[in-house]
């Protein structure tokens, strides 16, 4: 038992830290931003440290095999916790006087749930982790109580999320019924035998439920509305950490629990991948709100990650992990830029047309945004090219050449709308917007560092990145 507790040290730290943060927020009041924000950041920082020191340990399971502590989960957790920290740090300036102590608390609890998602080895752990994240997410989406868009986003997210949870649970019950267990390894044993309708239905429902969380087409409908309606820091959060957790979860479920049934799920994942890439690219064309556009962009990017998962090989999983890291940095960078787009009154600017001529007003922000967008489009020499390369390489290696070609062609469509924003910022005449002052040093520094890393500097990190992803992916095979 104590051994089990030692293994889940990061989770324990997050639980205690989250509760402490809640107490601070309750007793010191919503005005004591520095106190509760500091407590939350410290908590997540401690969890990162706890994960980092144990990431090289051999894989171990705890609590009778329901949760596993391995390098794969560790890698995902590091990304999740780091993204959560950034989402906490950027919040106070956005909410200004509307900042409340619940925000960091909810993020910490969501991070706890996401960590469980990434290290689940049992369908029930998976479900609990997922619900923990989702419940925190529903509240966060409607965090601005007085804003009807925010409330609508929360409600929409909740209703559709509940539906997805229902599907997931139904799938889990089918898998349990036909394999006799909720543990991943026992389910895998059932899948290595002859497949029956029950197992296949269970597989379909589970994948559908998880697809909702990664917003893969056709389970993506909530994404643009929630992204647009939720407050910006929350949107940044939704686009980053939960995506990492859900993609990690999807990878683990299909590879660990359903690995032997690859013939059954590969075609589903291929469909999800292509549908997401194409719809994400086509749907983004014509969007007028930058947050909505980024929602489609994230659908599109999830499609590329799914190509790596569809390969079903270690190379594929490595590519997905590398993709997640680069995607995370790019997404957070993009949202940081948007956070800094404020007019003279401090109101956020989300209309893409208002970005016209941004390069002449905020040269640095426009340049960073251009780097992020070119990187999302996967144009070398920006580092966003590299994970795309790895994903396609994994697909070719797994004899999925047509999938790779289709993905490539669709990414040209995707490039179109990224280019369209760059066109607006650089080619169009200056829009009639009174831009506000520059943002704080912390935010500008983060933007600069991520943009620099995504320009050519990232290539110098290919080797350590490959080592880390290989180490993490190896535990699944």
């Amino acid at each position: 038992m104590t051994n089990d507790l030692a293994l889940v040290l990061p989770e324990i730290l997050l639980t205690i830290g989250g509760l402490v943060t809640l107490m601070i927020a309750t007793f010191a009041g919503d005005r004591a931003v520095a106190a509760y924000q500091g407590a939350a950041v410290l908590t997540l920082g401690a969890a990162i440290a706890a994960v980092a020191v144990s990431i090289d340990n051999p894989p171990a399971t705890a609590f009778m095999g329901t949760i596993t502590v391995d390098a794969f989960g560790g890698f995902a957790k590091l990304l999740i916790y780091a993204a959560s920290i950034i989402c906490i740090l950027i919040a106070p300036r956005f909410f200004a006087r509307g900042m409340r102590g619940e925000y960091p608390v909810l993020i910490v609890f969501a991070a706890l749930g996401m960590g469980m998602m990434a290290s689940a080895r049992d369908m029930l752990t998976l479900y609990i982790g997922l619900e923990m994240t989702s419940l925190a997410g529903y509240v966060l989406a409607s965090f601005m109580r007085t804003d009807s868009r925010s409330a609508e986003a929360g409600l929409k997210y909740f209703v559709l999320g509940a539906l997805a949870s229902g599907m997931l649970l139904y799938g889990i019950s089918l898998l349990y019924g036909f394999s006799g267990s909720t543990a991943f390894d026992s389910i895998a044993v059932a899948f290595s035998g002859e497949l029956n309708m029950g197992l296949i239905l269970g597989l379909v429902f589970v994948i559908a439920g998880v697809s909702f969380k990664i917003s893969a087409v056709p389970f993506h409908m909530w994404t643009p509305d929630v992204y647009e309606g939720a407050p910006l820091p929350v949107t940044a959060f939704f686009a980053s950490a939960p995506k990492v957790a859900a993609v990690a979860l999807m990878t683990r479920v299909v590879v660990e629990a359903m690995g032997p049934g690859i013939a059954a799920w590969q075609q589903i994942i291929i469909f999800l991948a292509l549908a997401s890439i194409i719809l994400g690219a086509v749907g983004a064309i014509g969007q007028k709100n930058i947050k909505r556009l980024l929602a489609y962009s994230s659908i599109n990017n999830v499609g590329f990650m799914l190509i790596g998962i569809a390969a079903g090989t270690q190379a594929g999983v490595e590519a997905v992990l590398a993709y997640l890291l680069v995607y995370l940095v790019t997404t957070l960078g993009t949202f940081l830029v948007i956070l800094n787009l404020r007019d003279a009154d401090g109101a956020p600017v989300e209309d893409i047309r208002s970005l016209a001529g941004l390069s002449e007003r905020h040269g640095g922000l426009a340049a960073a945004m251009a780097v992020f967008l070119f990187s999302l489009a996967g144009i070398p020499p920006l580092f966003g090219f590299w994970p795309k390369y790895l994903v396609f390489e994994a697909a070719v290696l797994a004899d999925l050449v047509p999938l790779a070609v289709a993905g490539m062609v669709a990414s040209v469509v995707g490039a179109y709308y990224y280019l369209a924003i760059i066109k607006t910022m650089y080619f169009d005449d200056v829009a009639d917007v009174q831009w506000g002052a520059k943002g704080p040093v912390l935010e500008r520094g983060l933007i600069a560092v991520s943009a620099l890393w995504l320009s050519i500097v990232g290539y110098l990190f290919i080797q350590p990145l490959a080592g880390a992803t290989a180490h993490a992916a190896a535990v699944l095979f």
């Binding site: 144009i379 050449v401 040209v412 290919i462 080797q463 490959a466």
Partner: protein, 514 residues
């Protein structure tokens, strides 16, 4: 460890580009000029230090810093010449935009310097993935150059340029991945001698073709070029026509032909067919253009048709000729675009009909324009003649029909260029605003003179440029010799009676056998 000359040539413009972003317009202009001149000096040093007839790959450097692929650079004679072309044109481009560009000069200069890094990188890369990164990276600065400083319809042209080329390149990326997985290396010199399986070659060849044909550009995927050229600023057109189009030809030489020799021989007909259409069709289109830049853009497509046909003749003359056409077209078309730019700066229109009679008030301009027109037509004594003659000789050896059609294209080329020249320079000087145009100023002279000197040098003594490339071309010809398609124009000395080995001999020939 030799001195990393190529890395230095990449670093100089790169550092200057970053510096340009943080200074004012005046300083940016001088920084860019200084950096490009330093690179020109380095390029000349590179040429002087190049051991003609020595090792195939020189100035080789390698650093395994990227894990999966390497920072591997090196040049052979062909790459050397194309790098020289790039570094030669760059200072001229900067000078050409000295006064014409007034808007956001620091960014403009930075983009041109990045362009220079990309061009040198493409020609010097010895690693397949590094090559791809440089090859694609060129899209970004060009997108900005066309989109920010271009003409009225610049946004459309920038998008078209970007997406068109991107689509082609992505297909090539799949092929690159397949090649790397098959051969297990990204090292270009190793891949040059790797024998890919027969049927795989065809697919790989087609995928590379998709990219290079767009870049080249070949008919029917050339339609981005007229738009891009017309809308781009003068210097943008110069660099686009001068160097970027050569990346396609270089790609055929470096990848398609030596890496997939069997497929190259098998699909030679395709290249010939497209080249023949390109040469005749685009020449006819050029004949009816009313826009000077568009006319020269179409003439570029026609010239590139000669290049592709010459390359896929797969013999010594054809390839050497194609290389000379590439180099010659590199500075002649740049010069022609500059000639257009000179009068565009004065009258702000590219309509041919708005000019006329320039010989009267701009005599110096008229002479230079005439020289470059003649070079474009291929008059003996200019660089155009050498290239076209050699490539046509090579094409004839491979296919007499292709040579026949390409020659018609050259006649048409004379027609549209002379027609252009007559309408712009000769005739009555009737328009008042045209009469008010001053002749070349010192800055324009300083651009025209080097271009003219090089045109004549290459026309009179092409050996300076051919010598470094000869051995590389021979290596390439040897590599593809076995897969060359049989020729319809090869001379056969009657029916041999005995001598069984003379059947092989008909494919080989000395330089003067025609």
């Amino acid at each position: 460890m030799t001195f990393p000359m190529l890395s230095l040539m990449l670093a100089v413009p790169f550092v200057a580009a970053i510096a340009c972003l943080f200074v004012d317009a005046r300083t940016a202009r001088w920084t860019a000029l200084a950096a490009t001149l330093i690179n020109l000096a380095l390029g000349i040093q590179l040429w002087l230090g190049f051991d003609v007839g020595g090792a195939q790959w020189q100035y080789v450097e390698r650093a395994d810093v990227f894990g999966r692929f390497a920072w591997a650079l090196g040049v052979d004679g062909m790459a050397l010449m194309l790098i020289l072309l790039s570094v030669f044109l760059m200072p001229l481009c900067i000078l050409a935009s000295w006064e014409a560009v007034t808007k956001r000069v620091p960014l403009y200069m930075a983009m041109f310097l990045i362009m220079e890094v990309v061009m040198i990188g493409v020609f010097a890369a010895q690693d397949l993935i590094l090559f791809y990164i440089f090859f694609e990276a060129g899209l970004i600065p060009m997108y900005f150059i066309i989109g920010i400083w271009g003409g009225a319809n610049r946004k459309y042209a920038a998008f078209k340029f970007f997406l068109y080329t991107l689509l082609g390149s992505l297909v090539m990326l799949v092929a690159i991945i397949a090649m790397v997985l098959e051969a297990g290396t990204t090292d270009i010199p190793t891949l040059l001698n790797y024998d890919f399986p027969r049927e795989m070659q065809t697919w790989l060849w087609l995928a590379f073709f998709a990219s290079f044909a767009v870049k080249m550009p070949m008919w029917p995927v050339h339609t981005w070029l007229p738009d891009a050229h017309v809308q781009a600023p003068t210097a943008g057109s110069m660099i686009l026509a001068g160097v970027l189009l050569k990346m396609g030809g270089y790609g055929f030489l470096r990848f398609s032909m030596p890496m997939f020799p069997d497929a190259s021989g098998e699909l030679m007909w395709l290249v010939f067919a497209l080249s023949m259409v390109a040469v005749v069709y685009t020449s006819l289109v050029a004949l009816v253009q009313g826009d000077m830049k568009k006319l020269i853009a179409y003439s570029s497509v026609a010239h590139m048709g000669i290049v592709t046909a010459g390359l896929f003749a797969m013999n010594q003359q054809g390839i050497e000729g194609a290389l000379i056409v590439m180099l010659s077209h590199g500075f002649v078309s740049a010069a022609l675009f500059f000639c257009v730019g000179v009068i565009y700066d004065r009258l702000h229109t590219r309509e041919i009909d708005r000019y006329g009679g320039l010989a009267v008030n701009m005599p110096a301009y008229a002479i230079f324009f005439l020289l470059f027109t003649m070079a474009s037509i291929g008059l003996p004594g200019t660089s155009g003649f050498v290239g076209e003659f050699l490539s046509l000789a090579g094409i004839y050896e491979a296919s007499s029909w292709a040579a026949f059609v390409c020659t018609i294209g050259i006649i048409l080329g004379a027609a549209y260029m002379l027609y252009l020249y007559r309408r712009v320079v000769f005739g009555e000087l009737t328009k008042d605003d045209v009469r008010a145009m001053p002749d070349l100023n010192a800055r324009e002279w300083s651009i025209m003179v080097p271009l003219a000197a090089l045109t004549l040098w290459m026309g009179v003594y092409p050996e300076s440029f051919l010598a470094p490339m000869r051995k590389d071309v021979a290596t390439l010809v040897a590599r593809v010799a076995d897969s060359r398609a049989p020729s319809d124009a090869a001379l056969t000395a009657g029916k041999p009676v005995a001598k069984p080995d003379s059947t092989h001999g008909s494919a080989h020939h000395g330089g003067g056998s025609q």
